[in-house]
Symmetry: D2
Subunit: 140 residues, 4 copies
């Protein structure tokens, strides 16, 4: 992959809340937001011409080493949510993202997730060059 010049540092997707993602309270279960964020960063990478699946096939696994979320308002079944994903920092060891969840103009949640890259044996690897190169870029 040679995405240095085209890699995006921000992206947004829309997600429709599925029935099985809700719980007895009638709200999206809090754990499911982390799967929404994963979709957010997957699609950011795809929009940049990259692909997690191909990274995995080449032997690089991306693991979550830290994740946190503040829940401000509940989401419900069938809500159309906007997930905004932003790369905030990339070092040789880590990739940090920020996320915001909106329903229309209303913000429902905000989050941070830190990723690391490991090989199949679990040994930490350098973040690929084309990702690391991004820190030098303006993030407009």
């Amino acid at each position: 992959m040679n995405e240095t010049t085209s890699m995006l540092t921000e992206h947004q997707i829309e997600i429709r809340v599925r029935y099985n993602e809700t719980d007895s309270m009638g709200f999206v279960h809090h754990a499911n937001y982390f799967t929404y964020f994963e979709l957010g960063r997957t699609e950011l990478l795809r929009a940049s011409g990259g692909n997690y699946r191909r990274m995995e096939e080449s032997g690089l696994l991306v693991v979550v080493v830290k994740a946190s979320c503040k829940y401000q308002r509940p989401a419900k079944y069938d809500d159309l949510l906007t997930i905004k994903t932003k790369i905030t920092r990339i070092t040789a060891a880590k990739i940090e993202h920020e996320y915001q969840v909106f329903r229309g103009d209303e913000q429902l949640a905000q989050a941070q997730v830190t990723l690391a890259v490991v090989n199949r044996a679990g040994a930490v690897q350098r973040v690929p060059e084309w990702m690391a190169a991004l820190v030098a870029q303006p993030t407009d």
Copy 2:
């Protein structure tokens, strides 16, 4: 594994319904029953001295080729459910199980699942001898 003589053909486990397994209706989402059945057959195998994880480590994967469930009454958060698992047929190609879900005396669901054994490349394998031997056994 040499479980021919000790392999059980029936087993039951108790499961406490988790919050995230419920949906907006306040009931356990129907897809989650299939994960309960998987726990039922896993624990049947463990109670017989076997272990799915070790089977996998030896290169044999157990895949579901058919699954069906009749839902009679809904289960709710925090219900203590009994999952009864029974091996009904084993051939060289397939393993069939029946399941019943109870809350106390009340039956909530019944199901059938058919498994096959494949290798890492996805090619169908013979059901291991020690499993196939069970069909010759009295099942009570």
Copy 3:
């Protein structure tokens, strides 16, 4: 709702397999197909001008009373799947759907799901008129 004339009896959607829907085998876990089918019928209803959420808000809950699936080939992370949904029968008591899952031209699974309509107290209700009217329609 007055969808008698516009209600579709067939519909198809595309779904991208999410990372959390896969399991250690590297395949989509079999239980997750049932959530795909639920999306299929939800979008069929939406494409017809209906909406499950509004049905629920009016006090009618749609519950699964029977579900079965034959798994032919495994799906993997990031696969783009086509879910074809077809209403096969509607009576005063039940709605039956058939589903097919494709990855490109390759069929991965086929399934049937039977729904019933209940009120908040769990009592079985007649399937709404506008749904029942569909049986009289050609299903081209």
Copy 4:
């Protein structure tokens, strides 16, 4: 409920990793840890004589307002995990828990979750007296 004297501030449970909780990497998907923590605090409350289900039936819902987790080592299918739950702070508005996940002696993750109490309309409620009373207690 009158659990002031008997309420525990620490508790531990064992959880067996389920097949559907793993992902293509062969590890427990990171989002699932938050459901483990929920089980931890549910069982802490039950061990103290309380019950979330009864709280809900009385109209009080417990919602997660903040959650964070550091993932140190991956968990795998069939691992037997110990989830240690500790109440670290209770105010009129919030309940804070800390969690640690162990596999034998090896620590896999640590986390914090902050809860608030709301009514069915979503309005924030005071944390019940019997819970708030705990802050005055030694937490040994």
